[in-house]
Symmetry: C2
Subunit: 477 residues, 2 copies
């Protein structure tokens, strides 16, 4: 890629003004690294356009000069997808100033939000209109609509309402030649050929810069009930979910937690306590949302499950505070793990029906191949998506383990996932982190199609280069 | 395109055997024209592979020779998308022998069906397992899964469950170079880059040949209730739908019928009678499906609507026979229209909220510009998709009117649709019929992106040439 010439930077500075253009090292510093601190980049300038027209202007100028752009929202990604390359050849394009909710209609259950709108802000705006945007995740206070669209974000409520892909009714984006794709019409039926909206969702900014999206809303939460359940195995947990789903569509979260993860949380996170008295090998956190009496619904369903033996014990949160306490256990697993010692994480999915087997056999296989490690698989069982972590053996040298064992463990886990017909990236994306693994594990036909699409829509390669699409000539370094 | 050389045909005949290969004019005749009889093509042979491997073999051979393939399922399309070109340069590839349902899991609510499975067969198989495939349309006895996927089919139940796009969990397809894309894993979360499945849905066979799909199932219909309602205007009809949706998600169909259409049906279709005694300007057909007592639900909701004045009169079908009679009126509109005289049809969509305005103002505008014509807009109001027809003036010369007035009316209707941010093809697709209109009315950025994707994935142009993607150099003839 070409380095940004001074006269290009001058033109950009003039057009964008001081709010939209900075070369100040201090201003840029937080945006040159990903939040996990795995990647560190460099950039001659950070551009913060306020409008779609400004984005189109930037892209046109950069396309003419062959200068790369790295789109960035809240910079909360997990795979280095928004970190510029270290050689300083790219400019950062931050969407954060495009932060208007252009419209929100409770009647139509639709909102048009610009790329820089923060997820929590969208939640509040929807709520104020008696509606809900039913996707949430830990980074909701920073993550932006543009990033959520571009990574097809998931989270803890995918079970009922799906990932971003099913919540996005249309996308507005600036394409790599500076032209604008306006897909905001929100047509429920539109058969005019290839669906560019769908192509831009999850493209991690490699095919264009999402400037706005039209998003589906659902009724606000009337009432919720949260239960903590002890079960014997992932198989029983899935059977429990299926039994509940056969009776109701009110189940919005169904998270599985192994005994080891619960113990870790109780040990490391102050103020947590076990929801159930007895010991169970596996636990499930269920949240049901309904117009009327979700607690009574859960009680009825869990009563049947206790009778049939699918559930060994269960407690329904008696208060909002107790519900929050249950969720806090689930949400603290990663933090407890960090306090516990070195571990390597994998965000993987397999077909839902196969997940119980995978959790047991995959863990056994990994532990056998890497003696002393402990596998902890937890998370979104109903989505076929668990976070599959392996903890280092007690006393392992941290640096050595991360440098030598962790990559080998990751290869093993990914190989097992591919053998099960699964995905090495369920919800975090590919970015820089998994690009080589994607190259290694993707069938040639699919890889060729991805490269052809990238080349067709971004022939000069200025859109977030080095991310997602594996290079033609083998692994990057 | 190259004409199929004799030695290629010989190789294909040998590989496919007599069941999979024919050059017999009589055998091929029904497949050389579309069912509306608008297009007539020619082909040197019709290929009917029985397996994905045979499809891959055919595509590889044809790619090497630059010979075009026209994929065909039930041949029930409305836009000539499956009719080969008249010059005989293409071969027909029929998917009808690939007609296995490879698996159907009630627990997972998923079925893997090959491209040639007929929709009605899929309905029956799902039902036998206590499930339902919730998409249906008039041609269900002939339309195949491959065609439904490739045209992103809609129908009368889109309101609740969406079009094919939201019912397809994954696609298996042979790409234009003969490689196989296997997207059948049905992962609920999978963020490994560009979504080829989504790109193949609705591509009308121009990017590859769909050989199978994994499809979502829903619970079988427990009970349904059907009501016929008189309303004052499309605006009131939409308000009624919104009011119902705020109370329940059981509404699966919401079809609007103008007085003119009802009169036409009563006049031309024997055995039909008006569901309500009084006269109403507009009518709505509602179907609700629920676990328990859908009729009581409709009664409650309609009671409120009658009180508030949104509904002027309403009757709930007292029996399954009466429900069928209500549906027969809706389903006979097109037939009644044909009996009535010349008319020109448009399958269009606009944003749902704007549809009531469009139906009134668009009809008035068209009738004013073409004196003596009568506009009849009916269908899927809740999807923002109506069938917008204009009937010729009484006494008009049929041939002359179709040749001269109809195309001008269509241009006007399409211009109005585009001005409203809508789609000139809501559910029927583009095929041959609307390719020039697509070229005329699509923004250059989108058109360029479509052409680039087609060129990238099918560089030799062998996949259903002349369909969907407008030529670079202006209108086709």
């Amino acid at each position: 890629m070409a380095y940004p010439p001074e006269d290009l930077l001058g033109k950009l500075a003039e057009r964008l003004g001081p709010k939209g253009f900075t070369r100040d090292a201090g201003d840029m510093a937080p945006w040159l690294t990903d939040w996990r601190g795995r990647y560190r980049g460099a950039a001659a300038a950070m551009l913060s356009p306020a409008t779609r027209e400004e984005v189109a202007h930037i892209v046109s100028l950069c396309a003419a000069e062959g200068v790369a752009l790295v789109p960035q929202g809240g910079n909360t990604g997990m795979v280095g997808g928004a970190t510029p390359p270290p050689d300083g050849s790219a400019l950062i394009l931050s969407t954060r100033r495009m932060n208007r909710i252009r419209s929100l209609s409770a009647g139509d259950n639709l909102a048009v939000a610009e790329a820089g709108v923060i997820l929590a802000t969208l939640h509040e705006s929807a709520l104020a209109a008696g509606r809900r945007f039913p996707l949430t995740l830990g980074a909701k206070g920073s993550a932006t609509v543009g990033g959520l669209v571009s990574t097809n974000a998931g989270g803890t409520q995918v079970l009922r309402f799906g990932t971003m892909r099913s919540l996005v009714a249309g996308v507005e984006a600036v394409l790599p030649d500076g032209s604008v794709h306006d897909g905001l019409a929100a047509l429920k039926k539109d058969n005019r050929g290839y669906d560019l909206n769908q192509l831009l969702i999850g493209a991690e900014g490699t095919l264009g810069i999402v400037t706005a999206a039209i998003l589906r809303l659902v009724p606000a939460v009337a009432a919720r009930a949260v239960a903590w359940i002890g079960v014997e195995s992932p198989r029983d947990a899935l059977a429990l979910l299926r039994a509940m789903e056969a009776k109701t569509d009110a189940v919005e979260s169904f998270e599985i937690v192994p005994a080891r993860a619960l113990e870790m949380v109780l040990e490391h996170i102050p103020g947590t306590r076990a929801p159930l008295e007895g010991a169970h090998s596996w636990h499930v956190l269920v949240e049901a949302v309904a117009e009327e009496a979700p607690a009574a619904l859960l009680e009825r369903l869990l009563g049947q499950a206790l009778e049939s033996g699918l559930a060994k014990d269960a407690v329904i949160a008696a208060s909002e505070a107790q519900a929050e306490a249950f969720w806090r256990i689930r949400d603290s697993i990663a933090e407890a793990e960090r306090a516990h010692g070195p571990a390597v994480q994998h965000d993987i999915s397999v077909p839902v029906a196969d997940m119980p087997r995978f959790m047991i056999e995959g863990a056994a296989e990994a532990e056998a191949r890497f003696p002393g490690t402990e596998a902890v698989a937890f998370g979104h069982l109903g989505d076929g998506n668990v976070h599959f972590h392996l903890r280092a053996p007690a006393g392992a040298d941290r640096a050595l383990w991360y440098a030598e064992d962790a990559p080998r463990i990751t290869r093993l886990v990914h190989d097992m996932v591919v053998a099960a017909g699964g995905s090495i990236s369920a919800e975090h994306g590919i970015g820089q982190l998994k690009r080589d693994e994607l190259a290694r594990l993707t069938p040639p036909a699919r890889l060729a199609a991805m490269r052809a699409i990238k080349q067709a829509l971004d022939p000069t390669g200025i859109m977030n280069p080095g991310k997602l699409v594996p290079d033609q000539d083998g692994p990057s370094t």
